[in-house]
Amino acid sequence: MKLAIVGAALLAIVAGIAFYVASQGAKRAATGTAENALTVTITDATCDPNEITVAAGPSTFTIVNNSSRTVEWEILDGVYVVEERENITPGLSRTLTTKLAPGDYDITCGLLSNPRGKLHVTPSAASAAEAAKPSMTAFIGPLAEYKVYLAIEAGRLVAATRQFADAVKAGDLELAKTLYAPARIPYGHIAPAAERFADLDTAINARAVYFEKLEDDAGFGGFHRLEHGLFAKSSTDSLAPVADKLLTDVILLQQRLRELQLAPETMAEGAARLLDRVADSAGSGDEDRYSRSDLSDIQAKLEGIRKVAALLQPLTEKADPALAGNLEAQFDATFTKLASFRQQDQYPSYDRLNAADRQAIADQLRALAAEIRKLNAALGLG
């Protein structure tokens, strides 16, 4: 049991650190130090100065009311109020800190009958880069789509697992064996999001090597336990309760995914983490040790990861077209590499691949992971 807990805790810590680092980055970007502190004095007739130029980015204005009336100070973009400070009483001053995009704005100067001043905001390197980054609103669509994808694939997983479990419980060895790999395909599709639920991931997908007593450990269950029984022992004996539990866990996973509150950065993060793990097990050939259906598994996970990238693609294109291009290229290369092993439209058993082949797959997966790891930064997600 120890190893299982260690494994789960390890996953937890890794995830937690990733989140923490991401959020720190985001905080740093938004709360910059005030760089352009400027004093604007409002008199009865005008503003002084009446024409201001600042660089794009965070700016601080100190508005001093030297007129005889309570005034407000507004930065206007046409008729749209970008920022304002209201109720500045005579003799007092207020501070306004804002982040301005490049352009020309009007500023009101006291009484509405006073002529307006001008505020010129010049582009800066930071603003140019910022302009490319999507706003939070831009992620609503992709995230909603991803939730729907997860819901649909989870539904497919439940259906396929039910069929698989029924075959196992009916003692139909041959049928169960043919249903094993196909049931894992929808699991692969949702893996970038599902693997964050360490408890369910352990219960559904953990490999024997994580358990103290390996294949004989009482805690070893899920897909690979069934795989072991069907392919290594060629028997469905004592697998019925394992199949039942697998189905229960998969249904619970479906529920959790439905309730999951996704944050934008978790999409690419989950994809990158998964890719690293897949690369590791591709090299060692450890994922489907008994059925040797690793290539099918890898493809399914790759498809799930590609879905993430595809949903983010319109935003990536705008923010960093070079990265978008590289991602496309790496995905193509990875799928091509996998497809190169197909024989008559089927994947061969993984033990047909020699060490060099497995390494080549692992290397290609790592190359893809390297590009995906650049996504969040490019999208302004810390």
């Binding site: 973009d77 046409g78 008729v79 749209y80 352009g103 020309d104 302009a131 705008k318």
Partner: protein, 440 residues
């Protein structure tokens, strides 16, 4: 005559005797007199009446009629307009000549003003009398244009059709009602007041019952403004609340007008068409209730200008040129904003300029209880394909389409002007077709 004090204001009513004298003197029957200003010398003094004619100091404004080119195109657009489209009922070439000669006489009279002939009262009057016994010009221009259908087999004009004149086609967002489309002849009326236009239309209809049959008409107006001395003039607003005409080519630029408005003698158009122009008329319904429920920033993104000032999205004033070169991705002015699609301001788009002269219309109420309002769009160009047709094709799929629906209009060719009293509108065409004799 029974006296009735219907002033209802609690003012001391005049005595019965004085009231009777006033009533007889005015020949009025029971007209309500408000206030207590009434005396025996009422006829000469100020009479307040809710129905006194509003005073205008512009009724004598006059636009020239005779000229190489018709008026009403580069003429500054006044507050009231109308397009009336007709079927030509003429059966013979001689009829056609009579039609255009009579039309020319009427337009000359109506636009210059004067006294219509007085007839025996047993006869119907010669003038409808809307403007009173003297017809005042009131800045009226009447511009005559001919449709592609006039160039059919009827009058042998087929070989003389202007090269690009076609019956108006349907564009993707259109819902054209046949009863509001096309026509053999269009007349564009514009003047200071709707009544001047109506007076003129009724005059022409009365004078040519056997030669013209009204097909459709649409009146319109533009909001007036107080004078703003020292500031540049502003374009009038349309019923979406936006300034309409901000980037309109300027008649002050004579070379530009020659290039984009007037048919030139050295082109591939028939010779008679020189000094004419193509006229595109579109009746475009605006879904105003829906527009009024749309967020301001969305309205501005759809049109591509600031609503209050008419300035381009980058700021400045209404007459500043939008700067698209430094905005290639449309972050300031969206790529599908109306003005950006209509004129992307590339080097090539200079060939597609048109001169717009629209009015806003407000008709009735739809079956759904919504307002039937919109734009009477009128544009002039020397080449219909490079002008309106190209621009309209660019607008396909624009976000504004949610709020507008073209339902009528037509393509016409505006005839060259009548040079003097011996000339008449359409003479150059009829001469080219061998229907009219050259003037000596």
């Amino acid at each position: 005559m029974r006296e009735r004090d219907s002033s209802g204001l609690g003012a001391t009513p005049p005595t019965a005797t004085s009231r009777r004298r006033i009533l007889i003197g005015l020949g009025a029957a029971g007209g309500a007199l408000t206030g207590g200003l009434v005396t025996g010398k009422a006829a000469a003094a100020e009479i307040e009446s809710v129905t006194n004619a509003p005073i205008s100091d512009k009724t004598q404004e006059r636009q020239p009629f005779y000229g190489v080119r018709q008026s009403g195109i580069v003429t500054p657009r006044p507050a009231a307009g109308m397009v009336a489209s007709f079927d030509v009922l003429a059966k013979t070439p001689a009829d056609l000549v009579r039609l255009f000669q009579t039309l020319t006489e009427r337009i000359a009279f109506l636009t210059q003003g004067g006294e219509p002939p007085s007839l025996d009262p047993k006869l119907p009057p010669s003038d409808n009398g809307i403007l009173g016994p003297m017809v005042t010009p009131d800045n009226l221009t009447i511009t005559a244009s001919v449709g592609a259908s006039l160039f059919d087999e009827r009058f042998g004009l087929k070989d003389h059709k202007p090269k690009r004149l076609v019956q108006m086609m349907s564009f993707p967002n259109d819902a054209l009602e046949v009863s509001l489309c096309h026509g053999d002849l269009s007349l564009q009326f514009s003047s200071n007041t709707p009544d001047t236009n109506i007076h003129a239309l009724r005059d022409i209809v009365k004078k040519l019952p056997d030669l013209l049959l009204l097909r459709w008409k649409q009146e319109g107006s533009v909001p007036v403004m107080a004078a703003t001395p020292g500031k540049p003039p502003e374009s009038a607003r349309n019923f979406l609340g936006f300034r309409d005409g901000s980037a309109n080519p300027s008649p002050a630029d004579a070379d530009l007008m020659e290039r984009i408005v007037w048919v030139q003698p050295d082109g591939d158009e028939p010779g008679w068409a020189t000094h004419g122009s193509y006229q595109a008329v579109r009746i475009i319904r605006n879904f105003v209730e829906r527009w009024d429920r749309t967020p301001l920033q969305e309205q501005q993104a759809i049109i591509g200008r600031h609503k209050a000032t008419g300035a381009p999205m980058q700021g400045g004033s209404e007459h500043d040129v939008p700067d698209y070169a430094s905005d290639p991705e449309g972050k300031t002015t969206p790529l599908d904003a109306h003005i950006r699609l209509a004129n992307p301001r590339t080097h090539g788009s200079q060939a597609n300029l048109i001169l717009r002269r629209p009015f806003n219309y407000s008709n009735g109420v739809t079956k759904s209880g919504h307002l039937d309002q919109g734009l009477l769009f009128i544009a002039y160009q020397s080449d219909l394909e490079k002008g309106f047709i190209t621009v309209q094709k660019r607008l396909a799929g624009e976000p504004l389409e949610e709020y507008i629906k073209p339902i009528g209009g037509g393509f016409f060719f505006t005839l060259p002007g009548a040079a003097d009293e011996r000339d008449f509108l359409g003479r150059s065409l009829l001469e080219a077709a061998g229907i009219a004799q050259p003037a000596n």
